[in-house]
């Protein structure tokens, strides 16, 4: 075990980034034209990085597996993006955003990175507005804000429930401009299957053209991974069907350390599972918790009555309902951070209070908010003695203007009208805080290989606050990486073009081809999904919201078994040289099967509870997560040695100079 150097610049935290920018190497504009950069992924991090690097003058090649960069899964983020603008004059500041993020992450993130994130957050909003992103506005024409879980100020900018879409389309438009200029060469329907190292530096990738099946060798002076998170290791998650770990995992196998794989965010407000055929879970924005109250019945009789359809949720009086978040966390109430809200839901459901057939659902109820807004609206309209129905109608109008698309989505999926009856929700895997270990420059342990956005581990610690993923993706892509990559590339101005037919490239190509051929030629009996589902089940049951030592050990051996079986018995139809979605799935699941084991191992190693990682052995008497700062105030970065089991852990000690470590409390 060795310690890792994050290369965080010295000096007071508020000057670190400014000083760093002034001191690092810069590539002059003429030389930037001589340098190629590969960007894998076209979401907020990848897309923003590709656009910004191209604007600076680098020659960018950008890869995405979707048919267009505009479909990256950042598009599905609903609620909003945080920024320390303090437009609401409620005492927000860079420091407060920094503090909230570190605290929300349960003190397992790198202070300097988080501060930088908070520092550039305001620029993101300026930038996006300049690009034509239509954020929500107030009647005076200024930007509107809302509040999110885990914070006490309103700093979240939003575009109805489609903020991610609007921000992504902003990045996509910036990319489109550079594609038009020829500065970005876009490779749609291409998937990175291998990272190529030349002389120890990341110099290119092997990508598969998903339409023709052809393997392509692409060289560059540096490789940026903005390939997102790995929540799909759980099979069921709110991630897109195509979201995968392959790009990051291939880099990991080539020497990039993988940090904190066990930090997973389970989002509290998702639509509950309805059956085994289910392929994916749907998130309902956390912003709903601004106005919705979460509850289950107080008595088991009522639970039974509701499950059997004898009673409806609206039949229960306020006394018969247990608003358990408001009960347990009076200060934050329904707006506790995601990990806390998720575990509280699980606690109630495990205790037998789940309100649907599977026993895995709680209510998210808008009736109070509807009546409150309705009354406000009636006052504005000067209605005298409005009837209850009138107030309800007005209130529903207000709720519709705030969350209309989410309510519509819920109704389409469940066939229930959430204006009339409470929504049913349950936690689901949503985001992975872990990822490739990066230094302050966002460079992984492979020189020249950078990771941005959800693909890296740096900013969210053990739990991410709502509306911070968009912030981090864009911060990394627009404002951090374009500067810091110069520090590495400054040495490459005389290198000249990187040849893509060197032995390293040919070897990597051959190895990738063999891997694909092996899958196709396996001719087993079970589909890829079969194995993915089994992996997901193990992950959810043993490595999900609550974990314990014996369970994790069991999970590790289970995953090994599934992996063995996978290579023995998987059936991938078709051939390698054609459009073959099953083959795409197979390569992704193969990597998930390795990651899953490392994931469980990391969870086993960390014998404390922190953020999204809850070890049953480490909890307070009240059942709250109990951190152990003495032994675990570090980031665990795993080095690949040939098998997941043999992975070697390196520690980056986390020091907190500007924030006092406290046991998190939202009571």
């Amino acid at each position: 075990m060795s310690t890792l150097d994050s290369k965080t610049p010295a000096g007071p935290i508020k000057d670190k980034w400014t000083n760093h920018k002034s001191n690092i190497n810069v590539v002059n504009p003429a030389n930037k034209r001589l340098i190629d950069v590969i960007v894998v992924g076209s979401g907020l991090a990848g897309g923003a990085a590709a656009a910004s690097l191209a604007e600076l003058g680098y020659n960018v090649k950008c890869f995405c597996f979707q048919d267009t960069p505009r479909r990256a899964h950042s598009i599905a983020a609903q609620g909003g993006i945080n920024a320390a603008k303090n437009y609401q004059n409620d005492g927000d500041s860079i420091y407060r955003l920094f503090y909230d993020t570190v605290k929300g992450g349960d003190y397992r993130s790198r202070e300097s990175n988080v501060y930088r994130l908070a520092e550039v957050s305001a620029n993101i909003i300026d930038q996006c507005v300049a690009q034509g992103v239509p954020f929500a506005r107030e009647y005076g024409g200024l930007l509107d804000n809302r509040s999110f879980g885990g914070v006490l100020v309103s700093r979240t900018f939003y575009a109805k429930g489609q903020t991610g879409q609007q921000l992504l389309l902003g990045a996509y438009s910036a990319m489109s401009r550079q594609i038009n200029k020829g500065k970005i060469k876009m490779y749609n329907r291409h998937e990175m299957l291998e990272l190529v190292l030349v002389d120890g530096k990341a110099r290119g990738i092997i990508a598969r053209n998903l339409v023709t099946g052809e393997l392509e060798r692409h060289s560059a002076h540096a490789v940026v991974l903005g390939s997102g998170g790995y929540g799909n290791v759980f099979y069921l998650s709110t991630n897109a069907m195509g979201s995968n770990v392959t790009a990051a995992w291939r880099a990991h196998r080539k020497g990039a350390y993988f940090a904190n794989p066990c930090y997973t965010q389970i989002h509290p407000t998702c639509i509950p599972r309805s059956g085994d055929y289910q392929a994916k879970l749907t998130l309902m924005s956390e912003s709903l918790r601004n106005d919705g109250r979460i509850w289950v019945p107080k008595s088991k009789e009522n639970v039974e009555a509701i499950r059997s359809g004898k009673k409806k949720p609206i039949d229960l009086s306020a006394d018969e309902r247990d608003y358990y978040l408001e009960r347990r966390y009076p200060a934050f109430g329904n707006l506790v951070p995601r990990d806390v809200a998720s575990r509280a839901a699980k606690e109630r459901c495990d205790a037998g209070y789940g309100v649907n057939e599977t026993g895995e659902a709680v209510y998210l109820d808008f009736s109070s908010a509807i009546m409150r807004y309705g009354q406000e609206k009636a006052n504005i309209l000067h209605l005298e003695n409005p009837s209850k129905e009138k107030i309800r109608e007005l209130g529903e109008g207000v709720i519709e203007s705030k969350y209309g698309n989410l309510f519509q989505m819920y109704e389409k999926i469940t066939d229930d009208n959430p204006y009339k009856t409470p929504m049913m929700i349950y936690p689901a895997v949503h985001y992975t805080m872990g990822g490739l270990w990066v230094d302050y420059n966002l460079m992984t342990t492979v020189p020249g290989c950078f990771a941005a956005g959800e693909a890296n581990f740096s900013d969210h610690g053990a739990n991410r606050l709502g509306a911070s993923a968009l912030m981090q993706g864009l911060a990394d892509g627009y404002f951090v990486l374009p500067y810091t990559i110069g520090d590495f590339l400054a040495d490459d101005i005389r290198t000249g073009p990187i040849a893509n037919d060197s032995p390293e490239f040919l070897e990597a190509e051959k190895e990738t081809k063999n891997r694909l051929d092996a899958l196709i030629n396996n001719k087993g009996t079970k589909s890829v999904d079969h194995f993915h589902k089994r992996l997901g089940k193990v992950m959810w049951n043993q490595v999900g919201m609550a974990r314990n030592g014996p369970g994790l050990k069991e999970a590790i051996s289970e995953i090994q078994k599934i992996r063995e079986e996978f290579y023995k018995d998987v059936f991938v139809p078709g051939t390698t040289n054609e459009f073959n979605p099953e083959l795409e799935k197979a390569t992704r699941v193969a990597d998930f099967l390795e990651l899953g084991e490392l994931f469980a191992q990391d969870a086993l190693e960390r014998e404390e509870s922190c953020g999204g990682h809850f070890r049953e052995e480490s909890q307070t008497e009240e059942g709250e997560a109990l951190r152990n700062d003495k032994d675990y105030a570090y980031a665990a970065a795993w080095e690949w040695t040939g098998t997941p089991r043999g992975s070697k852990m390196h520690k980056e000690e986390l020091t907190f100079n500007d924030i006092e470590l406290k046991q998190r409390s939202y009571k």
Partner: protein
């Protein structure tokens, strides 16, 4: 429920395709349409046959990947939804469901139900953006107040997911709704004013070059659009182009 599916199969772009018939059984009404397709594919794989290729990704109606022409309508019989949000409760036991890819000269079929929609990308690349660098040195976000109504209208136009249902629904395979949504969004915002004229000219020119048809104002696109993009945008684009050209 038990269903008969008639699905377009086409090996690759150059191959000629045909409608094939499949049967699926024990489909739950709570399934999404794509989950039903998953069941069919699993069945085909277990029979050692090649599964049906179709585009899909987020499965929550926002990425715009899914693109099936179901029973004679893009994204199927429901309104305001993409194929992934269409649920089987919209169908009855014993139904025959016809599934085809988007049909347009500008959207060539890649395989089975997968089409190439890169023409949309090229239209955006021709000018569907504000030419500002991502330096972050732009002015403060609140420096220019924008009337709420304009911001809301711009947002409504900007919610287009680029799925191509408008093209698929239009008898002329016209891309007017898609193009006008972007033109409108930027024409409504102060940030879009500088390049307003050039943008609409370039984008419409590219749209024509790609081979999309003309707008006959049938209104089919608006009805089939999963995001409810309004025909107002097309009228606005017509005005924009006219004023840019005169």
């Amino acid at each position: 429920m038990n269903l008969t599916l008639k699905i377009w199969r086409q090996k690759e772009a150059k191959a000629s395709g045909s409608m094939e018939t499949y049967k699926v059984s024990e489909i739950s009404e709570h399934m999404s349409f794509l989950e039903m397709m998953d069941v069919l594919n699993e069945q085909l794989i277990n029979e050692g046959k090649e599964p049906i290729a179709f585009d899909h990704d987020c499965r929550e109606g926002i990425c715009g990947s899914c693109s099936m022409y179901i029973n004679g309508e893009p994204h199927g019989p429901d309104r305001g939804v993409t194929t992934c949000q269409l649920h089987m409760r919209k169908f009855k036991d014993g139904d025959t469901i016809h599934i085809e890819p988007w049909r347009a000269a500008s959207f060539p079929v890649i395989k089975d139900l997968v089409v190439d929609r890169s023409a949309f990308d090229r239209i955006i690349q021709s000018g569907g953006y504000v030419s500002v660098n991502t330096s972050g040195n732009s002015q403060d976000a609140n420096a220019i107040p924008i009337p709420k109504e304009d911001a809301d209208n711009a947002f409504d136009a900007a919610t287009c997911i680029g799925c191509g249902a408008c093209v698929a629904a239009c008898k002329n395979s016209s891309a007017m709704l898609f193009v006008s949504a972007k033109v409108s969004q930027l024409a409504l915002l102060p940030q879009g004013q500088v390049e307003r004229k050039e943008r609409v000219l370039s984008m419409v020119d590219q749209m024509d070059t790609e081979g999309f048809g003309n707008c006959s104002n049938t209104g089919a696109c608006e009805i089939e659009c999963p995001k409810g993009i309004s025909l107002d945008n097309i009228a606005r684009m017509n005005r924009e182009l006219l004023s840019a050209k005169i």
